[in-house]
């Protein structure tokens, strides 16, 4: 009997060595784990990017973090569940450490209430309730929960991992997943639908050559109203622009979005959309509105080029281009004509108000005609006039319709498209920002942004300056931000990657 019990205990310990969640209750709502916790905490405390965040954490919690950082703790797995109506949360932790006594001393001096513990070799089971340490080893554990298994399959030994049971956490989900307006549906519809329906969310943070936060949640297929968000096989690859400041790529089908507008839009928005359609049809002339939508491909990409910081314009804007696949090359001429019509109408209106009109001109780049509407130089208030940066430019090439805020960015897109400089479109949506140039641009515009922020928020100029600098300071140690949203196999995943400056300098991602 004793031999059998000994084998059972050894088996249990062996199992826990592989999976500490076996000692956590299966009804844990929040699961959190840390590998090599002290080192992670020390790194976090030392990371310049996190410095502004520390004051936000309550002092007792900060002290506990600092104390744990001094202990030799290899692994912490924590499960939290509701304690019942008007009762505190119940937590259970499984900790692998050489210093059980030191750990308990620190916890008891920093945490309120009684801490129960049960040592098991190198491990110790802890909790703020007796049941935590009396739990039979043979009972159902968090490790047996299917969604946790999915998490574990994806993240075997994350530095920091989490799994949250949304079904139990968000009892009242009425407001979750509701878009405020049509714009929110267009841009975030997939995330909102996932937030409204997902039973759980899990993720992991890795702090190696890149800081990577990967999250996933189950999501049923998007409803027909949101078919415009589904990835399409016909999506063209992304263009690679040298010296791009930012790139945003979205998988969106304009035709399907327009078809679903009645169900998605609020009454006031429907009126605005109807007005828009009426105006568009007037300007489009012989080109039918529906034909135009049908001719637009299923993606929408934005490319931003960094302006010259030496420019005298104040404030200084990046040049941005929207690129949409054009499925029917026969429409190119119609689109150019529409562009010229819009500028013509705007000129009539501006002329009537005594305002300067736009000059229409065009130039070739790699055999592609770029059409530009801009202010006459003599209408601008010298080189500092910010309006000089707005030179609306349009081109069509390689099955793409390109509309930019400046001919420079349209030229860059044309060159990349003509040269076939592309990379595969790996996810439904993605964003990449070069943080170095973005910071330089931010600093260049700081006074304007701070003044505007002060006027916008009704705060002091100093406070606005400090707030903005704090936000930018968070990203100071990083050279690149990447974000990707994907949906496949019934799961939605979001990945945020920050590339540290040193990693970028050594070419982590091959650039």
């Amino acid at each position: 009997m004793a031999k059998t019990l000994g084998v059972a205990i050894l088996c249990a310990l062996a199992l826990r060595a592989q999976e500490p969640a076996r000692s956590l209750p299966d009804d844990a709502v929040i699961f959190l784990e840390l590998q090599d916790g002290p080192a992670l905490l020390r790194e976090a405390q030392a990371a310049p990017a996190l410095q502004p965040l520390w004051p936000l954490i309550p002092a007792p919690a900060r002290k506990l973090v600092a104390a744990l950082g001094e202990l030799s703790v290899e692994h912490i797995a924590l499960g939290v569940r509701p304690g019942g109506v008007f009762r505190p949360l119940r937590w259970t932790a499984v900790v692998k450490t050489q210093d059980h006594r030191g750990l308990l001393t620190q916890l008891r001096s920093h945490l309120p209430g009684t801490i129960f513990s049960r040592p098991e070799g190198e491990w110790v089971v802890l909790g703020n309730h007796e049941e935590a340490i009396e739990r039979p080893e043979s009972g159902a554990s968090l490790a047996d929960v299917p969604s946790f298994s999915t998490y574990r399959t994806k993240h075997t030994r994350p530095r920091l991992g989490f799994h949250v049971d949304l079904e139990k956490l968000l009892v009242f989900r009425g407001a979750v997943g509701k878009a405020d307006d049509l714009g929110a549906e267009f841009f975030f519809g997939h995330l909102l639908k996932t937030a409204a329906r997902a039973d759980w969310v899990s993720g992991a943070l890795t702090l190696d050559s890149e800081w990577r936060l990967a999250m996933m949640a189950p999501g049923t297929d998007l409803p027909d109203t949101h078919a415009f968000l589904r990835a399409a096989k016909s999506a063209p690859p992304l263009l690679v622009l040298p010296n791009a400041l930012a790139r945003l790529s979205l998988t969106r089908n304009a035709q399907l979005f327009w078809a679903a507008r009645e169900q998605l839009a609020k009454p006031a928005e429907r009126e605005a959309l109807a007005r828009f359609q009426g105006q568009a049809e007037t300007i489009l002339g012989e080109l039918a509105y529906d034909d135009l939508l049908a001719a637009l491909g299923p993606t929408l990409d934005l490319y931003a080029l960094s302006p010259s910081i030496e420019s005298k314009a104040d404030p200084l804007f990046p040049a941005v281009a929207i690129v949409i696949p054009l499925l029917d090359s026969g429409l190119e001429d119609e689109l150019i004509l529409t562009f010229q019509s819009i500028i013509g109408v705007a000129n009539i209106e501006r002329g009537g108000m005594g305002q300067p009109r736009f000059l229409l001109e065009s130039a070739d780049q790699d055999g592609v005609r770029i059409h530009v509407a801009r202010h006459f130089d003599h209408h601008l208030n010298g080189p500092g006039d910010p309006r000089g940066q707005l030179q609306i430019a349009l081109a069509c090439t390689e099955g793409r319709f390109i509309l930019g805020s400046h001919p420079d960015v349209v030229r860059a897109v044309v060159v990349a498209a003509r040269a076939g400089r592309t990379e595969p479109r790996r996810t439904v949506d993605s964003l990449q920002i070069e943080l170095g140039p973005a910071r330089a641009l931010f600093r260049r515009n700081l006074e304007f942004l701070a003044a505007r922020n002060a006027l916008e928020e009704g705060k002091s100029l100093d406070r606005a300056r400090t707030d903005l600098q704090s936000i930018v300071g968070l990203f100071e140690p990083f050279s690149r931000l990447k974000m990707a949203i994907d949906q496949h196999s019934g799961q939605t995943s979001v990945e945020v990657v920050l590339v540290p400056n040193s990693a970028a300098a050594t070419g982590v991602d091959g650039k």
Binding site: D314, N381, A451, L455, E456, L461
Partner: protein
């Protein structure tokens, strides 16, 4: 009207009693947008005449560091909403609210609009000019406006040449800036336009081009001479119609929506007697029986700017100026971008159905916010009948009938916020807050 500063016995009979608290509140609603607790105490201590001088400021306007820095940072943006917000920000923090109210008055007399001028800096500099010269003699102000780049561009003066004089500026000089219709002929406009040729903008500054100027003889208002632009301005300002025209506008801005003829005549005489010196005119006007007459209490419809600033002061905190500027547009007043050279009609015109809806919507949005006030008119008010009555007295200057008070109390109790400002905010919704 003569440009020389001479003076001066009183033209308007002074207030024939010691000012009561109601008098002081009335005075501050017109000179400082709203009678805050602090302003009321100080005015009672210093007296009305000294308060006019303090609220108007010294010879040079004060330049609050923060407002100046914000103005400098955004002026190149050419964004009218941001520029208007910067001005609103300055008004809200100004220690010289009367100077700002006077600047708003002249901004609606000497209208220029960014949509035509297309140069934010010019507009900002024009406002500064009005702020600096507004409280002084009228003639130098009009002469400076004639040389102001924003005005030159807005009224096409830079296109005016000897061969082809442009009449826009001359017409508005006579019709709007000085004497008003009925005192001049089309021939006077043509002759004035000839005299005002040669006005240019070079390197963002006024420049006089003798080559483009018509220096021949002109007959203006029946007088023959080789009149220059400055001569024309002087003759127009000195015309008796100007003081009356200006007096009527001052009364409509500071005293009542509908001034009577005797009052217009009286203020016209005051302007002449004070040689057009606006500081002296305002000092006498704001200490006169005419100003404090019972018919003039609550007889002035708050312009959208007045409403936004007064609401902010009533709540005791600076509301986001950009939000305020956006609401101004919805209420029908675009600072720095008036729809026509005539400016805004003002008065009862601010109470059109559409404007009233926008005004109420703005005030309702304030009422729903629940931050604690700092220095509000009613610093401590409870959420009961006594508190609402005190708030109404402080914010509206009078106490509404019992049934209306009961309604305000019900609204205040509905507010999610426990803050005092929610009671004050609720009182702002009363129709009496629309007038000052």
């Amino acid at each position: 009207m003569s440009s020389s500063v001479g003076v001066v016995s009183r033209t308007l009979p002074p207030l024939s009693r010691d000012p009561t608290r109601d008098d002081v509140d009335h005075f501050l609603r017109r000179t400082a947008f709203f009678p805050t607790f602090e302003l009321r105490e100080r005015t009672e201590r210093e007296g009305l005449a000294a308060s006019v001088d303090r609220l108007l400021g010294g010879a040079e306007p004060s330049a609050p560091e923060e407002a100046t820095a914000i103005g400098a940072s955004v002026q190149a943006s050419e964004d009218v909403e941001v520029l208007a917000a910067a001005w609103l920000h300055r008004i809200l923090g100004s220690p010289e609210p009367l100077r700002e109210r006077l600047t708003l008055f002249f901004h609606n007399r000497f209208v220029s609009a960014l949509s035509k001028v297309q140069r934010g800096r010019f507009l900002v500099e024009q406002i500064e000019l009005l702020r600096r010269l507004g409280p002084g003699p009228f003639l130098p102000l009009v002469q400076a406006i004639t040389r102001d780049p924003a005005m030159i561009r807005y009224l096409d003066l830079e296109r005016s040449t000897k061969a082809s004089p442009n009449e826009n500026f001359a017409r508005e000089l006579l019709e709007l800036f000085t004497m008003g219709p009925g005192h001049y002929s089309e021939a006077d406009i043509r002759e004035a336009a000839r005299a005002l040729t040669g006005y240019r903008i070079r390197h963002d500054r006024f420049e006089f081009s003798p080559a483009a100027h018509d220096d021949g003889s002109k007959t203006f208002l029946g007088r023959l001479g080789a009149w220059s632009g400055d001569d024309i301005v002087r003759l127009a300002v000195e015309h008796p119609g100007t003081a009356r025209h200006l007096g009527r506008a001052l009364l409509r801005h500071f005293v009542t929506d509908a001034p009577g003829e005797p009052e217009i005549e009286a203020v016209g005489r005051l302007i002449v007697a004070q040689s057009g010196n606006l500081r002296a005119v305002l000092r006498e006007l704001f200490t006169s029986d005419l100003f404090f007459a019972s018919a003039h209490r609550f007889a002035l419809t708050r312009s959208p700017v007045d409403l936004v600033v007064a609401a902010s002061l009533a709540l005791g905190r600076i509301l986001p100026p950009l939000e305020g500027a956006r609401h101004l547009v919805a209420m029908g007043q675009s600072l720095l971008d008036a729809p026509s050279v005539k400016g805004y009609e003002g008065g009862a015109a601010w109470r059109s159905p559409a404007s009233l809806l926008a005004r109420r919507s703005y005030l309702a949005s304030l009422a729903e916010r629940g931050r604690e006030p700092a220095g509000a008119a009613a610093p401590e008010v409870s959420r009961d009948l006594e508190g609402v009555t005190a708030a109404a007295q402080a914010v509206l200057g009078r106490v509404p009938p019992p049934d209306e008070l009961a309604l305000l109390l019900r609204l205040a109790r509905k507010s999610k916020s426990e803050a005092t400002s929610s009671v004050v905010g609720t009182v702002l919704l009363h129709p009496w807050f629309q007038v000052a």
